[in-house]
């Protein structure tokens, strides 16, 4: 048994990269089966796209051809005849409908089947709307690869112009598929802000076409999840000479990882990280006090186990934090990212003399960290005491309070949940 097909793949990465453009529209050139899941994901991932229109998800509005009850990602509903005869008429028709709304950007993605019949998604053009056609949907490659390829495609098409703004950064390496990405951006922006650094653009997450054009103004590119931003950062450096940073500590989750993240950025921009570091220190002291209380009751998490299924940089950061800071032991880690973070994780656990399985689903553990689906399955099979959702889909269906997954607040969230799960003694 396995839960191996839980994580989204390259095609979803491409679609959500396009859906991250606030004033954009994405088309799937393919059957309805390739549209429903991404449409639904986009609706739930970016509910604030239409802030003033809470009804934008209402299916009655979109009970029409191409949309099939969903507001995002209309499709050309390819069927048997279309695979044989081609479907360019449907694509042209849908593109014309979409163009009428005058979006700032249009992205067209071939489904796997459509990519085999030679449909020319690049044939759709417009005088005033940039249109990107994605011929190859990624088939079985990981989400971060599909995502970055598409972001770079967007940038190659729009070709930002550069008017440098000092003390500004772009935040890369985040996508709207990441859980609570808006809260994450707010968290990291606020941390940068207190150190006197502004954010120029959030690459891929809620930027609009005007923002894309200005994205080369930043002085520095910084990353959240490097596997979602490294190639893009490399592109900016090659074309515009904008340097980039990502922390060797992985994603900024965990006290040290967050400290490293902000310190390295401040060092690069010659800014003082003290305001941010002071905030982190306050939380460290608070946490330490809590742990002392727990120690007095023999309820420390030392030696308790955890498993994690997430992208590599997040898995690495959380593993390092829970092991080093709390003394917890990883028993299973699974990532879908590239080899770099996998090998760092392996190196880390080997250096501590630990043996870690890659089968999260079948390894009993005290705490499971992953998607809401994985956590639910582990809990219902009584393979874990409790879980923490760090990736989509999430068990929480409604979220009012801000709940970053990363940064200082994300670290406190993680600690709070871990310690509560482990409160009962084993």
């Amino acid at each position: 048994m396995s839960f191996n097909y839980e994580t989204p793949e390259g095609m979803m990465g491409a679609l959500l990269a396009l859906e991250g453009i606030k004033d954009g529209c994405t088309i799937v050139h393919g059957p309805t089966g390739c549209k429903y899941c991404p449409s639904s994901s986009s609706e739930f991932a970016y509910t604030n796209r239409s802030k003033n229109d809470p009804q934008f998800c209402n299916p009655y509005r979109f009970f029409k051809k191409y949309y099939f009850g969903q507001p995002r990602i209309p499709c050309t509903y390819l069927q048997e005849d279309d695979y044989i005869m081609g479907a360019s008429e449907k694509l042209t028709d849908l593109s014309d409908i979409v163009k009428k709304d005058q979006p700032g950007f249009i992205g067209i993605v071939n489904s796997p089947g459509t990519s085999l019949i030679g449909e020319d998604v690049g044939s759709i053009t417009s005088d005033n709307i940039p249109i990107l056609g994605i011929e190859t949907p990624g088939y079985s490659e990981s989400q971060c690869v599909g995502y970055q390829r598409t972001i770079i495609g967007i940038l190659n098409l729009i070709k930002p112009e550069r008017i440098p703004k000092i003390n500004t950064v772009n935040i890369l390496g985040l996508s709207i598929s990441h859980l609570n990405w808006e809260d994450d951006l707010e968290e990291m922006t606020s941390m940068l802000d207190i150190c006197g650094i502004s954010v120029c653009q959030n690459i891929g997450t809620g930027w609009d076409t005007a923002g894309i054009r200005r994205s080369a103004d930043a002085e520095l590119n910084v990353m959240i999840f490097p596997e979602y931003g490294d190639s893009t950062a490399d592109w900016y450096e090659r074309i515009y000479g904008i340097p980039y940073l990502y922390s060797d500590s992985g994603a900024p989750i965990g006290f040290k990882a967050v400290e490293d993240w902000i310190s390295e950025i401040c060092r690069a921009l010659d800014k003082d990280p003290t305001p941010a570091l002071n905030k982190i220190k306050e939380k460290r002291i608070l946490t330490a006090k809590t742990l002392l209380d727990m120690e007095a009751q023999h309820r420390l998490p030392t030696g308790r186990t955890f498993s994690i299924e997430a992208e590599g940089s997040m898995a690495y950061a959380i593993t390092e934090f829970l092991y080093s800071y709390l003394g917890m032991i990883p028993v299973a880690i699974r990532t879908d990212s590239d080899g770099l973070w996998n090998s760092r994780i392996q190196k880390f656990v080997s250096s501590k003399g630990l043996t870690v399985s890659d089968d999260v689903f079948n390894t009993p553990t005290d705490v499971t960290i992953g998607s809401g689906n994985m956590v639910s399955a582990m809990m219902m099979r009584k393979m874990t005491l409790g879980g923490i959702d760090v990736t989509r889909p999430c068990r929480k269906m409604v979220k009012i309070e801000k709940e970053p997954i990363i940064g200082l607040s994300g670290t406190m969230r993680l600690l709070d949940q871990v310690l509560n799960i482990l409160w009962p003694r084993n």
Binding site: M1, S2, F3, N4, Y5, E6, T7, P8, E9, G10, M11, M12, P31, T32, G33, C34, Y36, C37, Q55, N58, P59, Y60, R61, F63, K65, F68, Y77, L78, Q79, E80, Y83, G86, P112, G113, S115, L116, I117, G118, E119, D120, G122, S123, E135, T136, P137, G138, Y139, S140, E141, G372, N373, M374, S376, A377, M379, M380, R381, P393, R395, M397
Partner: protein, 716 residues
Amino acid sequence: MKRIAIYGKGGIGKSTISSNLTAALSEKEIKVLQIGCDPKHDSTRLLEGGVDSHTVLDYLKNSVPGDRKLGDIIGQGYKGCLCVEAGGPEPGIGCAGRGIISAFDLLHELGLDSIDLDVIIYDVLGDVVCGGFAVPLRNDYADTVYVVTSGEFMSIYAANNILRGTANYNPNRIGGIIFNSRGEDEELERVKRFSDAVGIPIIAKFSRSRTFMEAEQIGKTVVEAFPKSELHKAFSELSDHVMNGKKYTARYLNEQELEKVVLGKTTTTKKLIKTDIGKTVTPVPKQPYTSRNVERKEELHGCAFAGAATVTDSVTGLTTVLHSPRNCAQFAFQMSSNAVRRSYIMKDKPIKGFLEPDIECTDMSESTMIFGGNSKLEETFDRLIKTGKNNFALITSCTSGIIGDDAEGISRNTESKYPGVKILNLIEDGNVKGDFMQGVIDASIGLMRSYSIKDLPKTRSVNIVGIKTISTNCISNNSKTEKLLDMIGIRINCNCIGNTDIESIKSMTAADLNILISPDRFALMLQDFMQNEYQMDFTKNVVRPGLKGTEMWLTEIAEYFGIRERAEKTMTEIKNAYSDRLALMKDDLIGQSVYIMSLHKDIDWILETIKMAGMNIKRVVVLDRSDYFNDYNTINDYPEIEFVKDFNIPEMLKDIEEKEPDLLLTQSHVELKKNIRQSYIPLVPDIGPYTGLDFAESWIRADKAPKREEWRNDVI
């Protein structure tokens, strides 16, 4: 830079002409790249001294992205010309057209565009059988197209088709016709007539000559091997034309015109002559058990691949093999993993198969698309069988269908190789077979065909037919049905098909009676199958929610088993409880008006409660949904229902506001100017006699709440 595509019928001499043209250009120190776009990869052989070069697609297959370099796949030939062969799969497998697209993508990625060139020549496969081979015709590739033809009719026919194809993209870039003679009389005259008719000149003529063979014998082009020959002169003139010549608009002839021009007469008639052939033959229906989308050739909702997977994944003891890219596996798998999460949130029991999924995907990659996926599929089965698995359901995606993988053949071979292994083939090919419901039907019937043992002794039990595994209340509805049956002493034999295991499917025919749990076409198709194949008995009534609905199906089952009194006693108790509850609610409901706008017909249990509670119905509008029974009997009991094909939303909203009901029932919240209370109609209602009452109680509680909640004041 000039970009030239050379097209023509297969075997007409395109590669010979292309390579000699390249040689002629190179002799003039023009920087040329020739790209062979044929899986045979023989376009540039003669330029490289007869060497069979490494193809782009072989390189794609065998190298890792980080190590790739352009120099590994570009060769250098006669007088410094550059040579690339796209390559492709073996004949009969994979998708060569896709291969062309991938080859061009790779060349672009490795920086081909930054090489300093004067001319690129695309030598394209003769029979442009799909969009992939037409890639050089796209705007960002060839700016000039030359068509090679002999005087044979089929060759000119192909040339005409190429002009038609070019007209679809950008028609204003035909460089001319190149005549390559077969050595027959009147060939040139035919080509001249065609040329005049389409307004495109013959810009080069090549006679049949042994010189080509002699040059080929020594692994060279004619231009290189015989520099003083007439052919060398002709190619040199062609190369001048390529560099300086005009372009023409692609015009083409229809079939009749073409025949008249080339052959001087028309043989094609428009009249279809009917014959008596096949009059007494009974056609075999392609798919006897179809969803409504498929039957009516409607727009397909979802794909059969995913529908089949939601059934097979819910059967424990069965391994589902998805022959697809991981993209498709993830889209399908999400349905079952989301169902687990919903069960957790609702504190409900999950479907065991979903909780412990046994799914394997063949992870078809770009390379698989080009070179075929048969071996990957075979390896997947070998690997799984070695771990001890022996019951499989194989489901194919659209990609495996398009590239022509022989999934059934692989299954047969695997079963022969491993006696005891059983593979159910669900060749859905994505949505080629149909929509999501078609996949559910195919998988359900397929599993019964594969495993059910005929004519087992009866065990005084019923089968529940039409299980919808991904509905949130699948398990709870199962339990409620079981509980009601238990009240009359009857047990469930098998859930057909979903949330079950192989042993239960095997014993399916041990049930005396079958009852549908869904009032839709999907369940009806299973019923048809089970009656035709196993002659099994079915109730007339469906497991329905509501008081009347429950009485009808429960009583019918009891009658069948000769225990009608037990059902009557049970129903009396239920009715008393129902009345008692209704009595407590009636005062709050009586006289209230209701407007119903429903996406499906499954609402009689609501109407029953509304009428019994003395509420007024303003209007009931129901969408005639694709997968429900055509003869669903709601309309008989509730003639006020209006069935519509489409909701005209603006009109309906206006109507609702004009009628101003106390309560609007609908599946999705509706934007209204007036503050009308709305309540949700479930897509799959809960089974049980009290469902309508539970629903009504929620209306009462909502009615007791403030007419306008305070939070609405905070809406900006």
